[in-house]
Subunit: 723 residues, 2 copies
């Protein structure tokens, strides 16, 4: 272990006035080399001697409230949908904003409702002719006439968003009083120009800023509040807050067709990230992305001209940036940063396919309560243990792909009250810098097994969204010694399964963007996957993979997966009897029945040769099937834990027909994992649990070393130790 | 209690040779007045003095095997579908009968395959041009050329059914050797004529027969066996066994359009009774029904001309008869009989809307094993307890609508070995005759609450099919003091909710014939139900009522039901918070949380005023909602038990806005029930459990009587006792 581990660097801290001495000690203990200013906080003069870089937070669209309030017709807009209201006679009145938070939205009376709005008979699924409805701007009520009694009607209408979503969230969550900042829409040419001017001035006003930390760019993710000031709809990937008549008109010019309000509303689904995206929604994302990248570039050109650097916060107003999109490199950021509480969020930053500085802001946030609203930096809280628990998941992901920097956020005055936390972060920071010292950010050994996850979002939304049934699997994948790529159905339709991929994974519930819905009616896609497996590829399906009712079956690749799901349409059909296998390569390290969480039910063997690995009564929970030269594994559900991680690890190698490659840089104890770095000759071995563990580490050449690790501990070894 | 209860009558027994004395004793103890002969058994001479009617079993389509075997081209036919086979190149060979039981089916090589068969690309959902495939009658193989690689192909082909389904079932189940009887197809004109001649001769040959017990008519329900001689597909209501080229040609003339093989095959779903029936399938049922009724009438005319009567066994070859259809009265039967192990099967017979003799054959069948293949009339069996358990369910249904006769089936030589069983049936027979004596088959008091169950089958399939998720609810309904009718979606579309109905029930899983699938996209149907509730009607939804994804919601009447189901397409949507009600009229008699069996998950309050009665974590299990002047109740699942029976009883009265009518001829103890007969002034009170029960019986005028009942016991009281 001759590499020098730096005692300082790769660590960003928030600053706060009035605790200069404690801050100095914290900065030194943690080895921080950068501080993050934000509104109202600035690096204290006393700490200038520490040679710290200064990162300054800037949210362009809400930074200049004087301009915003003077130009409320340039506030950001979106479509909302009124409640569905039953017509009890031939006339119905709809108070369109009734269900929404009136501090957040104001009805747009500037653009002609007859042109821009839609009244829909939701029962007949028909648009109501504009002559049959009227809007009263004084009352906010739409009156529909010539209704069909007992049909339900709704109004899709434009609003201005008069309170910026993040400001509103913070104010409502923390009971803050004060002004309601409004975000302006940079799609409006005057706003675009104004913001450039504003930025130039801001850079001049902030000469000490080294790094402009844009928080984030133009458009906030969807966050709609209801009449009771409680959240009504939220989608971290939602593209609602970038809608305006001008953008819609430009979209038509760019894409050759017009969007209608219902393309955004979708009966209230708002193109939820979990739903199969319609082609026009994908076009809309692309259209907004092109604009936002142009905007970013204009800003970054100014930042660079001023001799500064810029970083993008991959949250809040991130919509339109799409860091995994083709255009992101052109946006011109020098770095990207995001909050990160697990492997998924770590890889989401680490894997962004642009060579810029990547920073993860670790948890817990220095705040009295945590994300679950439990005490954190407050009596009853245990911020150290919180930090350990997050770090265990993050560390294994970083072992696969290391980011450049870590950081923390919040109020240091709270953190300094917890010396065990301060000490733990010192240790964590050292562990992080040690990873840099020993890996030089080189690639760890990975097996020849390449995995592709197919869903509707593909590469564009790599490692995106934990809040769905495939989330647990993604978390597991973040730390496995495998190349993981994300593809969409169009990729398969056009190019087949990507060259070099050995295992395809499809996971999710029927009809979701993750499972794929109607894409599984596309014969090109179905045949491509079937051919892939017949010729030796592997398929892992979880939950309701390839699912859509068609041709008498539900899983369109039931023949490949070896299973189908009874949807109560063929109860009279006898299902092949299966008996649970006594043992199988996939299940070898399991101790007892696996807990896969919520499982699809009524899944049965579709073929007589399907192997049942785990059953629950008559339902298959885990099954394996051979199909041509290939193999498939089905799991009725999945949740991330270390026993399941090992099972998925084995399932991938089994379906890839690469069982012999499993025990290469492999820990016998599933509660431990390792990563080897051939370029530096180092091996990183870590304990994912709070108890001491012993493990046999297998090298790729057959050598083994016994290793003992304290709770959560990691150890570095030389590859030569294994010879 | 002055009415004379007959000591004999309304009871049919099977006969058997060699146990004449025991049979005499049994007949006398049970008060049997009729015996059932079947092939090989006949009323022994020694018992002639008992004055018994003789019922003789006759299955016309397989009775004359000499004719059947000489006319194998007139055997019954059907379409089968080969396995879906993957084309690994541009050519694929399909051994079409490979998956099927070759003792049951022979490929039809008489009718031109190119005309009558279909080869389908199942991956592309396209019919393959006949020029691109060939059938080799020697090998049974279809070769498809110009395939798309890795598409799957199947062949829909005609077969002759060479072994009658019931004979095959009996032979395979009991390991019987012997000939394989073949059923002939009376649709063929020569067969039609031959059977008439045969029937005349049979009647002549069987002068002692008083009642011809047709078992049943022409076409067996669908019962397809696989290559391993095990059941592959079974549907008690399936219309597959009546298919022939001639019938298909005549269908085209009658209905004006042609059916294709896929109309029968449906990718292997075979128009399962659980699936939403296609219009062409409903037309096919209607077409076959018209023919079968014509056939029945021809037979019954002969029977009557010979001075005999006839009865139809409502099972086995019952397809085409449709006892709830418009034509059934014209078929000319004097009676209908079916096996009956619960209230549902009892009402299925009792409610047949034709005034003929109705008989239920009770269980257990005198056979060593029971329907679950457990010992019955064999060591380890307890036929008396089996009989009690069945009778408890049957009795409460008969209290609502009394059949004319009961009976048993099987081998009396087995039954006589169980004296406790013999004694119990004597008691049961007396209880049944007492019901006749005290009710004179008059209508029991029922509340003014009328219930309609809506599903795709409606009246045609009243009380049909227990093997689905609504089965438990139907069983509960069989004994409630309510009028229950069954309607289909077309009834609602054309006529709205029937006059007088106060509560509509929709129960089932999405996309099934029971829930209704795409019928809930029909605005006329949706608006009619919504109007019904807004104007004071009640709606009870169970499982996935009114379910189909549309306009952003899953339950199309979510606004009425007050609930919707999250299908993972709108996870970002906040759901109204609900708190469980402390008490509600519906839940008043519940002792602890109800067990509704398997429940729909992720059901949430759709409106803020939805009342949560029972929750499971965040999921609603039971909810109530008020909508306009009407009310709705939602249950996430249902299973039949006495606690749930009471809950449904209350839920119906609550949704009907008739809480005040609940305690009219009502038992305070939910384990007991009662029925009052205004015409005779009698009250029947019974204990549904194996433990003694006390109960307060409420009359319709407010009077009460305390009653104690032994295990399973019943008691008759005078209505005047309540004054």
């Amino acid at each position: 272990m001759s590499e020098t581990v730096e005692t300082k660097g790769r660590m960003t801290l928030p600053v706060e006035q009035g605790i200069e001495e404690e801050l100095r000690s914290m900065i030194q203990k943690w080895g921080a080399d950068a501080v993050r200013n934000s509104d109202g906080t600035e690096l204290p003069e006393e700490l200038k001697d520490l040679g710290l870089e200064v990162y300054s937070t800037l949210c362009m669209v809400r930074a200049d409230q004087k301009y915003a309030k003077a130009n409320m017709d340039k506030a950001q807009q979106k479509y909302l949908c009124s409640a569905f209201v039953t017509a009890e006679s031939k006339m119905v009145k709809i108070d369109i904003l009734k269900e929404y938070y009136k501090e957040q939205f104001a009805i747009d009376t500037k653009h002609n409702p007859k042109k821009w709005w839609e009244v829909i008979d939701r029962t007949a699924d028909k648009k109501v002719a504009p002559k049959n409805w009227d809007f009263n701007p004084k009352t906010g009520v739409v009156t529909v006439k010539d209704c069909k009694p007992y049909h339900q009607y709704s109004v899709s209408f434009l609003v201005y968003q008069i309170w910026d979503s993040t400001s509103m969230y913070n104010a409502l969550t923390n009971d803050w009083a004060g002004e309601h900042p409004t975000s302006v829409d940079p799609y409006q040419p005057e706003v675009f120009e104004h913001l450039l001017k504003f930025l130039d001035e801001w850079l001049e006003r902030n000469p000490k800023t080294d790094m402009v930390r844009f928080t984030s760019v133009a458009y906030h993710f969807t966050n709609i509040y209801g009449h009771d000031a409680n959240p009504k709809y939220r989608d971290w990937s939602g593209y609602t807050d970038c809608i305006s008549p001008l953008a819609i008109e430009d979209f038509k010019k760019a894409k050759g067709y017009a969007l209608r309000p219902e393309d955004f509303i979708q009966g209230g689904l708002f193109n939820d990230v979990n739903a199969v995206p319609a082609p026009q929604y994908l076009d809309w994302i692309d259209f907004i992305n092109a604009f936002v990248v142009k905007l970013c570039r204009a800003w970054n050109d100014r930042v660079h001209k001023a001799g500064r650097k810029s970083m993008m916060f991959f949250c809040d107003h991130w919509i339109g940036t799409e860091p995994y999109g083709e255009r992101y490199a052109k946006a011109g950021f020098d770095g990207i940063v995001n909050a990160c509480k697990n492997g998924l969020e770590a890889r989401r930053i680490a894997d962004v396919p642009v060579d810029i500085v990547k920073e993860v802001r670790l948890y817990p946030y220095f705040f009295p309560v945590n994300l679950k609203n439990e005490p954190s930096f407050a009596p009853g809280g245990n911020p150290k243990q919180e930090c350990v628990d997050f770090w265990v998941d993050v560390r294994r992901a970083l072992a696969r792909n290391l980011v450049d920097r870590i950081g923390f956020g919040g109020y240091p005055s709270l953190a300094i009250k917890y010396p065990d936390f301060i000490d733990y972060v010192a240790q964590l920071s050292e562990e992080f810098r040690t990873m840099h010292a020993h890996t030089k950010q080189s690639k760890p050994y990975q097996s020849t097994v390449k995995v592709a996850v197919v869903n509707c979002w593909g590469k564009l939304r790599s490692w995106i969204c934990k809040e769905w049934e495939g989330g647990g699997l993604m978390e597991t994948l973040t730390g496995l010694p495998l190349e993981v790529q994300f593809i969409n159905f169009s990729d398969i339709e056009k190019h087949g399964i990507p060259e070099g991929v050995q295992v395809l994974i499809n996971t999710g519930n029927e009809g979701t963007a993750w499972s794929g819905g109607a894409h599984w009616l596309n014969p090109k896609i179905v045949a491509a996957v079937r051919e892939f497996v017949h010729n030796g590829g592997g398929l892992i399906g979880i939950g309701e993979p390839t699912a859509i009712q068609n041709q008498g079956r539900f899983f369109q690749l039931a023949d490949v997966l070896g299973v189908d799901k009874e949807r109560n349409l063929s109860r009279g059909k006898s299902k092949p009897e299966t008996t649970s296998q006594e043992s199988h390569f996939i299940m070898e390290d399991q101790d007892g029945a696996p807990n896969l969480g919520k499982c699809a039910d009524q899944v049965y063997a579709y073929t007589a040769q399907t192997q049942a690995l785990v059953k629950n009564g008559g339902d298959l929970i885990i099954a394996a099937n051979e199909c041509g030269k290939g193999r498939a594994v089905y799991l009725a559900g999945y949740k991330h834990n270390w026993a399941n991680t090992r099972m998925i690890h084995r399932a991938i190698f089994w379906t890839a027909n690469k069982e012999s490659e499993l025990k290469k840089w492999f820990c016998s104890n599933p509660l431990t994992e390792c990563a080897a770095y051939p370029e530096t000759g180092k091996v990183f071995i870590f304990n994912n649990t709070g108890k001491p563990q012993s493990t046999t580490v297998h090298s790729d050449k057959g050598g083994t070393v016994e290793v003992s690790l304290d709770a959560y501990a990691s150890q570095w070894r030389e590859m030569t130790d294994f010879e």
